[in-house]
Amino acid sequence: MLTLHNIHIKIADKHIINDISLTLNNGEIGCLLGPSGCGKTTLLRAIAGFMKTSHGEIIIRDDIVSSPATHVDVTRRQVGVVFQDFALFPHLTVSQNITFGLHQFSPGKQQQRLEELLNLTQLSDYAQQYPHQLSGGQQQRVAIARALAPKPDILLLDEPFSALDPSLRESLALDIKALLKHENVTALLVTHDQTEAFTIADKIAVMNQGHIEQYACAYDLYHEPDTFFVANFVGEGRFIEGRVSMTPNASAQLHTAMGDFAAHEEPVLSPSEKQVKLLVRPDDFVVDEQHGFAVNVVSRAFRGAHTLYTFESVKSHEELLCLLPSHYDYQVGTQVGIRLELEHVIYF
């Protein structure tokens, strides 16, 4: 449904987007995740047609809408956009806002589509209200209904939850996901918040400095990050020093202060070694007072079912984050024995 081929975008001779390619299939929800300034909003605006690409192609359905030679105007792209501040027209009621893009429909069809969307977004009781009379969550639903009204092939959402109460974001995100799936619309959202991305998206593109580091589902990003940036940006975790030793006709080994692990390396012809950093997630630890490694408790944060500890390794002085069931109750300053149980050995 949406394909990006080697997109480059320059603004005032500055490369904002560098060689980005990705594909979204019909009905999929994609996400551009990255720190602020990584170019994710620029890319979204280019897809919407607000700005031109300097190289590469944007293909919606089977039509090239952006390329160095063509630029289909935003008004003719049939792409729905939900803005960060919702951009609801303050002088129009909820109904008028929703039907704003339906000017080419007959009045009967407009009414039909309006009622459909009001029911879907549970806004029927607010149809005659003005945007400033609504809560943030309701405003967001109006914005989405307005963008969906002309049945666009693609819906683009720019930081759709940033203007909303954080405690509501997750439940709202689930509602929105259900709504998008119900309408079977292909959607791409931009966010810097990974919880949002994980909740709503089927596929997530982690962006950094204008390029995509990894394009995968949430599970893979967390457990099998391709790059150091992704490993660091997605989820919590720490890196510890390690050394990979490779010998011909034997499997490679990763040696760390916390034990040895099987390393995944191509076979080598002569023995060699390299220094690496091993990713350890907070859920990679188990308590083992007898055979574990000694760590000191630096700080702790109680989280109900779990407690997140910050440890410091006694031997190597490396900092570790560790999520333990909360019936373990260690005070700051005490010494604990822990063991690493890695399901995914990720090092760079």
Binding site: F50, F83, A87, F89, H91, G101, Q104, Y130, H132, A147
Partner: protein
């Protein structure tokens, strides 16, 4: 004692300030209303049989025409300047305010003189008056519409564009409706100016309410009937005001965020789609309006002034300049302070009546200068009388006129007349600051004075400057009230210019006229600087 202190604490001081100022400023209006206490059926019948319908038709047509004319020019120019990139846009953006400096009566006799000179056609018609007045009054709409358009969030355009809405449709469906309160305010100001105009219609010999009032008073000597006619005129103004207020109901849209001052290119004009007006056409449009409304008449006035200028007239001229400038400046400072006080009274007072009282006080704007002068003289004359009675009782001597016939009377008249110009601006500015901003600052432990200096003043800066500048220019241009109320031997540029022009001494009128216009430019430039 404790009871009195408690009462004082409970007293809504903002209500006292608002109501007190409003009542004082409403005195001339009340004086005119009191003139209805003696209605002469005979005089009114005579008026009805002869000229009343002519006054009515001409005044209504003139007002509507000027309202529509200045709306068309102001909105179209503001839209071009805020939306498109074209040759000279940066220059036109501020230069289009220049006609503010051109009083209607000056452009009227300049063009009439030019047309007579070339013998093209006679501009002394109602249509001529409408066109010429629209040309100098459109900046009221332009300046407010421009601010409204440029403070609209960029994302509205993005949203409309992504919904397949064209730029033209966006203008009519989103931009204009959201700017409607501002446009109506500008139109209301222009229409009130048109209703109150005396100089132009008098020079053109068009019978409107203002010339009728003048004729009734000076020609027929019927001061009370003149006052009553003015009262009738006030009804029309009330109508305009009422319409403006009505149009703004439910329109208290708070700006949820300060719009980005980023230099991002306009969504519509950024794309390859052709704007519905070509850039060249926009340059030409702006240039033509500016030339006709300002450059050509100023050029003509300069030529006349050059032909007339001699050393002998310089002294008179310099004293005229300093008189006018000082008067206009001190008056605008006073009026802006009053307008702020009243706006705050309206905001902070728990009494809902303050708003109505303020509106009533601002009605003075609509009163023709001639009649306002009478409205001012009546209460002040009464006050002078009482002071003299009291003074004579205590000191056994008379001190003469204290208020009437002095600057007090003149400035009082200006306050009544031009308060609404300032008030519109300060009210609009204050309305844009959410009330919960005040609450937020109050809870931070800052006093109301701090709220004003640290929060409101920076946010209101544009509104206050706009208010001050509009009042300054208005006072400089004001003619009929100054003509009547000025202290003995005190002349202003406007008074002299008009006196020469009515004597058909256009060359002599040119020097003070061109000065009014040129001095009027300085605040216009300051205004545009502050708005950047």
């Amino acid at each position: 004692m404790a009871v009195i202190i408690n009462k004082w604490r409970e007293l809504d001081r903002w209500f006292v300030v608002g109501a007190g100022l409003s009542v004082i400023l409403a005195l001339p209006v009340l004086a005119i209303l009191f003139s209805y206490s003696h209605l002469s059926a005979e005089l009114w019948r005579h008026l009805y049989d002869t000229t009343l319908s002519e006054y009515l038709t001409n005044s209504v047509l003139l007002t509507l025409g000027v309202g529509l004319g200045s709306m068309f020019l102001g909105v179209a120019l503001a839209w071009c300047v805020t939306q498109y990139t074209f040759w000279g846009r940066g220059f036109f953006e501020w230069a289009l305010l220049l006609p503010l400096a051109m009083p209607a009566y000056i452009i009227a006799y300049t063009y009439t003189g030019m047309f007579d000179q070339f013998g093209w056609f006679d501009s002394r018609t109602l249509l001529g008056a409408i066109v010429l007045m629209s040309l100098v009054l459109y900046p009221y709409v332009y300046i407010l519409a421009k601010t409204a358009f440029s403070s609209q969030q960029h994302t509205y355009q993005d949203a409309a564009a992504s919904l397949g809405v064209t730029h033209a449709r966006y203008f009519f469906k989103v931009a204009l409706p959201i700017a409607r309160p501002a446009v109506f305010t500008g139109m209301a100001l222009a229409m009130m100016e048109a209703l109150a105009d005396y100089g132009t219609v008098a020079y053109f010999g068009i019978s409107t309410f203002t010339t009728g009032i003048f004729r009734t008073w000076f020609g027929m000597g019927e001061m009370q009937l003149a006052s009553q006619l003015a009262g009738a005129l006030a009804v029309f103004v009330l109508l305009v005001l009422g319409l403006e207020k009505y149009s703004r109901r439910n329109m208290r849209f708070y700006q949820t965020q300060i719009p980005h001052q980023d230099m991002r290119v306009n969504t519509y004009t950024n794309t390859q789609s052709k704007p519905f007006l070509s850039p060249l056409l926009m340059s030409v449009f702006c240039l033509v309006v500016l030339a006709v409304a300002f450059i050509i008449p100023v050029f003509q006035l300069c030529i006349w002034a050059w032909e007339f200028a001699e050393v002998s007239v310089i002294d008179e001229y310099l004293s005229l300049v300093s008189n006018s400038f000082l008067l206009a400046f001190s008056t605008s400072v006073l009026i802006v302070a009053l307008a702020l006080l009243l706006s705050y009274a309206q905001r902070f007072s728990t009494h809902s009546q303050v708003s109505g009282l303020t509106q009533f006080a601002a009605l003075g704007y609509a009163i023709p200068g001639t009649v306002l002068a009478i409205g001012v003289l009546q209460p002040l004359g009464w006050l002078d009388e009482q002071i003299n009675v009291l003074w004579a009782f205590v000191f056994d001597e008379y001190i003469g006129l204290v208020f009437s016939g002095t600057f007090v009377a003149l400035m009082f008249a200006y306050c009544v007349r031009f308060l609404s110009v300032a008030l519109h601006n300060t009210q609009n500015g204050l309305e844009r600051i959410k009330p919960n901003v005040d609450d937020a600052v109050l809870t931070l432990g800052l006093g109301r004075l701090r709220i004003f200096s640290r929060i409101h003043l920076p946010l209101l800066k544009k509104s206050i400057l706009a208010a001050g500048i509009l009042v300054f220019v208005d006072v400089l241009k004001e003619l009929p009230a100054t003509l009547i109320l000025r202290p003995f031997n005190f002349n202003t540029l406007a008074v002299k210019a008009f006196e020469y022009a009515t004597d058909e001494r256009l060359l002599a009128a040119a020097l003070p006229s061109v000065t009014i216009v040129l001095v009027g430019i300085i605040p216009v430039i300051l205004l545009t600087r502050a708005m950047k």
